[in-house]
Symmetry: C3
Subunit: 175 residues, 3 copies
Amino acid sequence: MRQIKIGFLTISDRASRGEYADLSGKAMCKWVQTAVLSEYTSIVKIIPDEQALIEKTLLDMVKSNYNLILTSGGTGPTLRDVTPEATTNVCDKIYYGFAEEMRRYSLKSVPTAILSRQIAGSKDNSLIINLPGKPEAIAVCLSAVFLAVPKCLELLDDSKLGIDREFIKSEQLKC
Amino acid sequence: MRQIKIGFLTISDRASRGEYADLSGKAMCKWVQTAVLSEYTSIVKIIPDEQALIEKTLLDMVKSNYNLILTSGGTGPTLRDVTPEATTNVCDKIYYGFAEEMRRYSLKSVPTAILSRQIAGSKDNSLIINLPGKPEAIAVCLSAVFLAVPKCLELLDDSKLGIDREFIKSEQLKC
Amino acid sequence: MRQIKIGFLTISDRASRGEYADLSGKAMCKWVQTAVLSEYTSIVKIIPDEQALIEKTLLDMVKSNYNLILTSGGTGPTLRDVTPEATTNVCDKIYYGFAEEMRRYSLKSVPTAILSRQIAGSKDNSLIINLPGKPEAIAVCLSAVFLAVPKCLELLDDSKLGIDREFIKSEQLKC
């Protein structure tokens, strides 16, 4: 059985210049480490908010057969926030349900989550999910959608991703 | 008063080849039979997951003045799932609220409903609603949105569709 | 500190011809007067459902540095309903969360709110929010999203909009 590959992509001008630590990348990795029971290999990248570079990096990960690609950052209203645009350009199919559920869960505690433009979609056999940049919001968004990730990977190329459903449900209850 | 016309379109490679019975078509027809109080004429078609053929079939139904066109199947993440793309190409206007509510109701029991890309929209005087392929999910999705269907048909061409609101509300409570 | 500017744009063939009073414009102005604590200057316009004219009027308001532009009307299924199309053409970024939340709140009492195609987005430093035409629905939709408006204006150009959070939360409870 092929091993699952998960890519973590932090998109942040300041983190990529080393102006602060990549806390959102760490938050994604840590949550996934607990939620995923299958063995997986992973890669962690930090890049600035440049649309062409984001698209290239996502496409490279897709070509390298990453099953799941999680991005953090670049989903807000400012000029430099271009992650959803890059993700839309890369993907064959967009799953609006992911964005809806991530916002719905986030809105339980943070009214400004309505501004998040994060999306999810697939390109070839990879599922790409945008997450917000704030570490505390990352766990909320992952909890909101992760129960559906294994089924999506299975439909894409019959990959089997084992997850800890009890952990995810307990995380959902915290939201 | 013109009689209401309802089109049922099952989109499935295997059902169209006769490899299994069209259970989703039956599920749509049966639910609508109970929910709709007006007399109506209907047509039932089963076609494979071919985007050009789906678009042609939808447009034929629109030109034949079908007020409501329900499709089942082809809304998931795989390469052969192209029903939302075909529906988007055919429609003048998309109503995102239908997709949101169908997913929201489905998610109460099925976390993977987040993957459904089903949409709804109108072309000329026809309202087109995508439904999932699974018969048990069809009733959930119809319950989620059907209370709004008469108003939409009325706004489109002043058609009057009588529905059993108590039945629909009781179906909603089951979700 | 720059003063906040708020534009109110009623989009209605009949109101623009003077066939009835602009009740939706009044409803928007009155709600905002209560919810906004900062001083602001405002403009009120009434125009017919003409897409090119809507786009031109929105762009004029954007160029005149209106921080927040609220439209009412033209969000339904009929041929003359083109407000979301005009808004999409004008905006750089669309915030789907606004539409989701406005529909979610409206659906608590009105099943046909599912038909509303209203959206929100930003162009340059202006946030544009579509509202429905019915005065009673306007308060519901503004309550659903207004807590997030100050953060959006701040992210766009560091504008500071003071709002009465207690009033908005009490309005939300009425929905």
